[in-house]
């Protein structure tokens, strides 16, 4: 009877949807972890936590102008990472691809003739995505042709992109007075429209949602999505049994991933900052990795985890402003969430074997 009992318990556990269990865990970490961490650091936990909640969810304005605006680039970089990792491509370079997209979108938006066109924002987004895809394409080429581990090449390219932006805003794209290391402000016609009155929420948020839905549908329901999942799960089987061109599919995933990150950069410029400067991204590309992992590389989940991280970071800014708690506290919370997740729910199909496909890592530790 023991066995049947065990089966019953297993079935019962399986009936609780896995994402729900994960959400419970995350809420637990947030609800207990943040006040506890604040307490340990010697801050007053309750007012600080209250400031965090007020700044992220406290009012309609906080939700739309802080949380959703902040979540937009995180959803996109999260999707970028999720698609690459799904296909066994360890693209750690969303940050650089985002910067490439932001730089290209700025350059286009500042072209004299174009700046009064109604279509300009749309063109800027396309150009930004292209630049991001191109930037990822460099690493993709190095991976396929020269077997350079993409984990390393994308990180190196992040630094190159950062210095490139630094050069652009002090050189060709610098504002006309040549005082500040930033570009001119782009014309109002070149900006993304606001979608709600009396808020900073811009059309880029809708773009991010549309991209997420498209990504979800493509990965789940199309042949290309199947190939992506197949090479991520087991490249050898995909090659032999599925007759899939692993290198080609991986390269496509890599470039699409870069394009989505580039799109995020273009949206930041045309929807939020309206100018290019060096610190335009407070690490959106790196946080995107956390967003994707929390969502277990599922596009629909990325929207949820992107919103969560957006709220967390928006709240952290408010907490720093109102309660004097350094906003970097959030990085600790993010790290704890990821570490807890990878220990409690080891990724079996997606990332675990993706490391094998990318040839970047070894086997998991033999015991």
């Amino acid at each position: 009877m023991d066995d049947t009992e065990r089966v019953v318990i297993k079935r019962w556990l399986a009936a609780v949807p896995e994402p729900l269990r994960r959400a419970g865990y995350v809420l637990l970490v947030l609800g207990l972890g943040i006040p506890l961490l604040l307490r340990v650091m010697g801050f007053e936990a309750i007012p600080a936590t209250a400031a965090l909640l007020r700044g992220s969810l406290g009012s309609g304005y906080a939700i739309t102008s802080a949380t959703l605006v902040r979540a937009t680039p995180l959803i996109l970089t999260g999707l970028s990472v999720a698609i690459a990792f799904r296909g066994g491509v360890f693209n750690i370079g969303a940050e650089g691809q985002l910067l490439a997209g932001a730089a290209a979108a700025t350059a286009l938006s500042l072209l004299p003739g174009l700046s009064h066109s109604r279509w300009n924002p749309l063109v800027a987004l396309v150009i930004g995505a292209t630049a991001g895809g191109f930037w990822a394409g460099i690493a993709a080429l190095l991976r396929v042709r020269f077997r350079v581990l993409e984990v390393i090449s994308t990180i190196l390219l992040n630094f190159v992109a950062l210095y490139l932006v630094g050069y652009l805003v002090r050189g060709p794209l610098q504002e006309p007075l040549h005082i500040y290391p930033q570009s001119s402000t782009i014309d109002s016609a070149a900006r993304l429209p606001r979608i709600l009155p009396a808020s900073r929420l811009h059309a880029g948020f809708l773009v991010a949602i549309v991209v997420a839905i498209a990504a979800w549908w493509i990965v789940r329901h199309t042949a290309a999505g199947f190939r992506l999942r197949a090479i991520g799960a087991n490249p050898d089987a995909a090659r032999v049994a599925g007759e899939i061109d692993v290198a080609r599919t991986g390269t496509h995933a890599f470039i699409v991933s870069g394009a989505i990150a580039g799109l995020a950069g273009a949206i930041e410029v045309t929807g939020v900052t309206f100018a290019l400067y060096e610190n335009i991204s407070p690490g959106y590309g790196y946080t995107g990795i956390a967003v994707a992992l929390l969502a277990r590389l599922d596009a629909a989940g990325v929207v949820a985890s992107g919103l969560l991280f957006g709220a967390l970071e928006a709240g952290a800014s408010a907490m720093q402003r109102d309660a004097g708690v350094p906003a970097v506290v959030v990085s600790i919370v993010e790290a704890v969430i990821i570490l807890g997740l990878i220990v409690a729910w080891p990724l079996q199909s997606g990332v675990g074997s993706a490391s094998r496909a990318s040839e970047a890592t070894s086997t998991p530790a033999e015991r």
């Binding site: 077997r147 630094g166 956390a290 998991p364």
Partner: protein, 310 residues
């Protein structure tokens, strides 16, 4: 005559900058080499270095121990982060890349938070006495390379000696052989009675200490202060250097110097007043590393279980 003096000054500055930049890279990448020869990869080296840098600050200011204690604390801080990596990957079988990413995030947030909590939110720049230089008689008075090579803080000599020491360890000691065996074929090593997990754990901890020291060097013998995120990608560079050095100690030493020399070109460009955009010179070492990685692409032989290149 004046031109000659000037060019000698530039060459001296270049040589010194090269050695200064190479020191933490040698420490960190030698540690990473040990891990990778056991078949693991710690992408979180960046976080290890950053924690080491912060540990050095705490050691030098709070316990007032100066640079020796500062370095000891920085090694401990690095080992602490490495311990988290070991616990997650070796202990619980978590994915190495994801764990590495997470511990870098953790170190970034942790050191930033602690820094602001302990030293004030404004981040008023703290100044620490940098380590005393240990000049070797006669040799330190050689032209151009004298100061660069022979009048350095003691830790620089340690880093230099680490290269042949690691080579000797890997080639000629029993433990070194065991370590290499694990990277090539863990199952066979286990069958032969090699304690695979224990050696992997030790390698991870030694690498943690070395990575921490690399961070300590940044604070104690270079910057003289701590800045949030001051590791500035050196952890990732060190990982690239391991590949560039083809997983061999001597190769790694060479690659570290190559990278450091390219980085130091900025001083030459400044001194000569070259009209090259500063940011492009800063990007040069990264581009060069990429090009070099592409160049050795198929010919490097990583430990068999690290990168399964057919």
């Amino acid at each position: 005559m004046i031109d000659q003096v000037a060019s000698r000054t530039v060459a001296t500055a270049f040589a010194e900058a090269t050695v200064r930049t190479a020191t933490p890279l040698i420490l960190a990448s030698t540690g990473e080499l040990l891990i990778e020869r056991t078949g693991l990869i710690n992408i979180g080296l960046e976080g290890v270095i950053l924690s080491g840098a912060f540990g050095a600050l705490v050691g030098a200011t709070h316990w007032g121990g100066g640079s020796v204690l500062g370095l000891a604390i920085s090694a401990c801080a690095g080992m602490l982060i490495a311990l988290i990596f070991a616990a997650a990957t070796l202990g619980m079988g978590a994915d190495q890349i994801i764990t590495g990413t997470a511990i870098t995030l953790l170190a970034l947030g942790g050191t930033g938070t602690l820094y602001r909590t302990l030293y004030g939110a404004t981040g008023s720049s703290l100044s620490i006495d940098t380590s005393a230089r240990l000049a070797i008689p006669l040799l330190s008075r050689l032209p151009v390379v004298g100061v660069a090579l022979f009048a350095q803080p003691a830790i620089t000599y340690v880093a230099f000696l680490l290269i042949p020491a690691t080579w000797w360890f890997l080639e000629y000691t029993h433990a070194g052989l065991a370590l290499r065996a694990i990277g090539e074929n863990p199952a066979a090593a286990l069958t032969a009675g090699v304690p695979v997990n224990r050696i992997r754990f030790f390698a991870t901890m030694v690498a943690g200490a070395l990575g921490g020291l690399a961070g300590g060097v940044l604070v104690l013998s270079q910057a003289g202060t701590f800045v949030e995120g001051m590791s500035a990608g050196r952890g990732f560079i060190a990982i690239a250097i391991v590949v560039l050095g083809r997983w061999r100690p001597l190769g790694i030493g060479l690659a570290a110097f190559l990278f450091a020399a390219t980085t130091s070109l900025q001083y030459v460009a400044q001194a000569l007043g070259l009209d090259v955009p500063y940011q492009l010179i800063l990007a040069l070492p990264y581009l060069l590393t990429l090009a070099a990685l592409a160049g050795i692409g198929g010919r490097a032989t990583p430990p068999a279980t690290l990168a399964r290149v057919e």
